[in-house]
């Protein structure tokens, strides 16, 4: 059936609306499943190509040696240049690339300029996440049964490094750290974990 001339503009408008709505739906879907959307989730370029693999997986440096605030306060914090120099005063890299990168760190130390690391894991401003209390909970041996972020049972108390992997994934085996390496860090993830562990889920625990 041919649409009447009268209907035509309405149909065109309808078509436009459908296309736009479709676009909106697609965007919303992308936003939901990729966090954050449009390539923002890719690993940022760091000023120094720092490989966690060499430091953690090969040389067994503890997380809290560099992220030294993680067991004390809200933010894990990235290390100051001095911290790198503990070792890199003497240790040179095995490859030329590594040596260039280490040289960058030494130059930064000598010229007294901080290294502006790019933040990888980020929560919105209206969320107050405290690293310290989460680590304290998971490493507390007096709590018999704890559950991981996907509801899996954790019987033995993990150490600090194992606790980090619960949310951040196996960072120690990554050359480049990307967001979402471990968990998507959406509110649902937080609430699920709080629920299975029988932790308060009052809004004011995180939002204030």
């Amino acid at each position: 059936m041919m649409p009447s001339r009268k209907m035509l503009p309405l149909m065109v408008a309808g078509g436009v609306v459908t296309v736009i709505m479709g676009f909106v739906v697609i965007v919303l879907l992308i936003s939901w499943f990729s966090n954050p959307p449009f390539g923002l989730g890719n690993a940022p370029t760091q000023p120094v190509a720092f490989p966690h693999t060499v430091h953690v997986a090969e040389n067994n440096i503890q997380c809290e040696f560099c992220h030294r605030n993680v067991t004390k306060g809200a933010a894990a914090t990235v290390p100051a240049v001095e911290t790198c120099l503990f070792c890199h005063k003497d240790i040179d890299g095995r490859t030329v690339t590594a040596q260039t990168e280490i040289e960058k760190v030494r130059t930064a130390f000598e010229t007294d300029t901080p290294i502006d690391w790019e933040r990888v894991h980020r929560l919105p401003d209206h969320v107050r996440f405290i690293h310290e209390s989460h680590i304290r909970y998971f490493t507390d041996e007096t709590i018999p049964v704890k559950y991981g972020i996907n509801g899996e049972e954790i019987i033995e108390s993990p150490d600090v490094a194992q606790t980090c992997t619960i949310c951040h994934g196996d960072v120690g085996n990554k050359t480049v750290v990307q967001p979402k390496t471990g968990q998507s860090l959406k509110m649902g993830t937080c609430v699920d974990c709080h629920r299975v562990n029988n932790i308060p889920t009052d809004c004011t625990i995180c939002h204030k």
Partner: protein, 772 residues
């Protein structure tokens, strides 16, 4: 397509969805705005707060505070729970010290004047060599004809400034727009004390206050508020009774059980009439030797002339005000005051700011002897001398007499160097003194300002060397009034100045100058901290007081940690005998208040200015929180208002928000009308503190701000005997300008709720039987 209502809505809805969706794509800039941790010191634990003890410098009473510091930024000011005077409590003003620290209008670095004087045109210069060398040159050349004007100082800063002024051969004067000189003089002549006393309100049963707005601005409001709370509803005591005799309905009057509106300047007569009743009816405390106190029969005869029958009409008391015969009322008041000890008589504020202010205050404070509350629990407590022999425990300020002289010296070229720190005399002195013109026209004068902010005086400077603000600097204080025992408060820098600011500590600059000029024989310290440290060592060597330490270093650390040192066993004098014939001497000074300028009668009104609840005399004017804090009574913010009675307003045809011209014989100012039911019909009241001409946008009088300085119209009447400004001694005429604005006030914002009032007959019976 034809735009019908229906498809308009459809498109509009689609647009909204689009807008929401697009909003969802982006991440708000603010959320990414996180300070890079690599800029911070390595050993700093982020996200944890630290609290450092220090002192508040936004009130003259100087409370002990603790400051919350996170990641090198000060976040919050709270009361230091250990500090004896405020015990963890603060005034609204204390909080705003943070805004001075992070104020957008702070002067970033040293500056030289580049335009004509007073134009406000400055060019930044380097501290070294330009700033400091210029200062050295002018000090060397004109130090001996210099005047240093500072805030009223106590503690080591006073010692340092005085010694420096002496070393260069100049003079130092403390400046306070609303000075306490008359109050000090009264305390000196009645109680023979040099430092201000404390009022132990928490244990008092009856407070009789004349003109002192002690809950809001007068002397040490936080300490008095603390006592007042207990006075009302303290555990294990009856509710106290409180009368306020005041020519303005102040915040303190609003909290009194009874406000007695008195004609301005007659407070002293009222006090003497109460004394007369107490003596005539033999109601005085047992400790009082009446014959000696009054000065024999001659004294009694003099006192007779102050009978309530004589004074009540003079003070303008009507039966409406007193709910019956005013004479009977005064007699009953005297009886209650004498019978319900411990009772306190307090005088200050407008009662002392009249030509006869000294007489007023002396008469008021003498009442305390009659009821035996001098040096007693629940009465007046005196403070011991400073724990350091040479460090002043009490601040001094110049009087109007001094400022007239200084202005004259500037005009005549006798003063060649003016050093300014923490004082804005151009704003804080009556305009008729013409200090501004004197400075502007003095060609030989060099003005150095150490103010971290531009104000009406520092804008006249040739050289500005910005000081650090209190949260960045060292300091100390000997509380005045102290808590009745020896006390020292310590101020420490809790944060460093921000990187875009380059202030230098004023005391450090003075010490450096003394060294470079070779005049450091009395000032041997390299910096102010070293000077304070020596003071700390001296306290340690006293081997007493609140801080236990085994070494001088430990003592210093503990001193800073606790925010001060005090020794509860070193009390002030408790038994003070009145001078022979004290009451007769005082009565002999009785004088009527003088009002220069506009004559009484006709359409003239009394002008009773008052210190602003948060801005005080104006030196907090640049702090936006304090500008935005509603006045307790009028709830007006950000502007200058004039309180006048509803009936007066009706008579003049004035509505709220009308801009009025207030005119004295000197000048006129504009202010927004605020009619109230509480102002006496023959007075108008205007707050001090507003109306800067220069400086921070928050403080200045720009078009549309309706902010003006009541100092501009005050008569230069002096208080007899002290030479202070009698700021409540002006008569004015009020007229409409025809303009009107929307008044910036809190009142009327919200729906009304119910205020619970419990009429208390029992209390009337126990405390003031005659008024039941």
């Amino acid at each position: 397509m034809k735009l019908t209502r229906r498809n308009f809505l459809a498109w509009a809805g689609l647009g909204a969805v689009g807008a929401v969706a697009c909003e969802g794509f982006g991440i708000r800039d603010g959320e990414l705005d996180i300070q890079s941790p690599v800029q911070l010191p390595e050993d700093l634990v982020r996200g944890n707060d630290n609290w450092y003890a220090s002192l508040c410098r936004t009130c003259p009473s100087c409370e002990g505070i603790v400051i919350r510091v996170m990641e090198g930024r000060a976040k919050m000011v709270q009361g230091n729970p250990y500090y004896p005077t405020n015990q963890g409590k603060i005034h609204a003003r204390c909080e705003a010290g943070l805004q001075a620290l992070y104020h957008p209008d702070r002067i970033p670095t040293a500056m030289r004047r580049s335009g004509p004087r007073g134009s406000g045109e400055f060019l930044p210069v380097n501290w070294q060599p330009n700033g400091m060398d210029t200062l050295k040159d002018v000090l060397r050349a004109n130090g001996s004809s210099s005047v240093m004007i500072t805030a009223p100082l106590r503690g080591h800063m006073a010692l340092l400034a005085d010694r420096f002024a002496t070393a260069i051969g100049g003079e130092r004067l403390g400046f306070e727009a609303i000075d306490n000189n008359t109050y000090r003089a009264a305390v000196k002549s009645v109680f023979q004390q040099d430092s201000l006393p404390d009022f132990e309100l928490e244990n008092s049963k009856f407070i009789l206050s004349f003109g002192a707005d002690f809950l809001s601005t007068w002397v040490s409001p936080t300490r008095f508020n603390r006592g007042y709370g207990e006075f009302r509803q303290g555990e294990g005591r009856d509710r106290g009774m409180f009368y306020q005799v005041d020519s303005r309905f102040s915040m303190t009057a609003a909290n009194a059980d009874k406000w007695l509106p008195v004609r301005p300047g007659w407070e002293g007569y009222l006090a003497l009439s109460l004394a007369q009743v107490i003596i005539a009816e033999d109601l005085q405390d047992d400790s009082v030797d009446v014959a000696s106190f009054v000065g024999g029969d001659a004294g009694i005869q003099v006192l007779e002339t102050f009978r309530p029958e004589v004074v009540a009409p003079l003070a303008g008391l009507t039966s409406e005000m007193t709910g019956g015969n005013p004479v009977e009322f005064l007699k009953n008041l005297a009886r209650s005051f004498a019978a319900n000890g411990p009772s306190i008589a307090i005088g200050g504020g407008s009662a002392g700011a009249q030509s006869n202010g000294l007489f007023n205050l002396e008469a008021i404070y003498a009442l305390n002897f009659l009821v035996g509350s001098v040096g007693k629990k629940g009465g007046i407590r005196f403070n011991p001398p400073s724990p350091w022999a040479d460090v002043p425990n009490s601040s001094t300020a110049g009087s109007l007499e001094d400022w007239t002289r200084v202005t004259e010296q500037i005009r005549s070229g006798q003063t060649k160097l003016l050093l300014l720190h923490g004082a804005d005399p151009v704003h804080g002195l009556p305009d008729s003194l013409q200090l501004r013109d004197a400075i502007a026209q003095a060609d030989d004068l060099f003005v150095v300002s150490f103010s971290p902010f531009l104000d009406d005086t520092s804008v006249m400077a040739d050289l500005i060397l910005p000081d650090r603000v209190s949260l960045e600097d060292w300091g100390d204080d000997i509380s005045e009034p102290g808590p009745g025992y020896q006390i020292v408060g310590m101020q420490q820098p809790v944060v460093n100045p921000l990187s875009d600011l380059d202030p230098l500590s004023f005391p450090d600059v003075l010490l450096t100058m003394a060294q470079e000029l070779g005049k450091d024989s009395d000032l041997p310290w390299n910096n102010y901290k070293a000077m304070l440290r020596e003071g700390s060592d001296a306290l340690f060597n006293l081997n007493r007081g609140s801080i236990e330490a085994s070494s001088a270093d430990e003592f210093w650390n503990n001193l800073l940690k606790r925010g001060g040192w005090w020794d509860e066993l070193r009390n002030g004098p408790t038994s003070i005998r009145p001078a022979d014939g004290l009451l007769r001497t005082i009565a002999g000074k009785a004088a009527n208040p003088e009002f220069n300028g506009i004559a009484a009668g006709g359409d003239s009104l009394y002008l009773v200015p008052f210190a602003h609840n948060t801005l005080l005399d104006g030196y907090n004017g640049h702090l936006p929180w304090l500008q935005a804090t509603p006045d307790p009574l009028s709830t007006v913010t950000w502007q200058t208002w004039v309180e006048l009675n509803d009936t007066t307003a009706d008579r003049l045809g004035v509505k709220e928000g009308d801009i009025l011209r207030i005119e004295s014989s000197k000048d006129s100012i504009r202010a927004v009308a605020y009619p109230t039911p509480a102002a006496p019909p023959d007075t108008v009241s205007v707050p001090f503190g507003q109306g800067r001409k220069h400086g921070s946008d928050y403080a200045t009088d720009r078009p549309g701000n309706e902010s003006s300085n009541v100092m501009d119209i005050l008569e230069t009447t002096q208080v007899q005997g002290t030479g202070s400004l009698a700021w409540a001694g002006t008569r004015v005429r009020v007229s409409k300008t025809g303009e009107s604005v929307s008044i910036a006030k809190l009142e009327g914002d919200a729906r009304a709720v119910e205020i619970g009032i419990l009429p208390s007959e029992e209390i009337i019976k126990t405390i003031a039987p005659e008024n039941a």
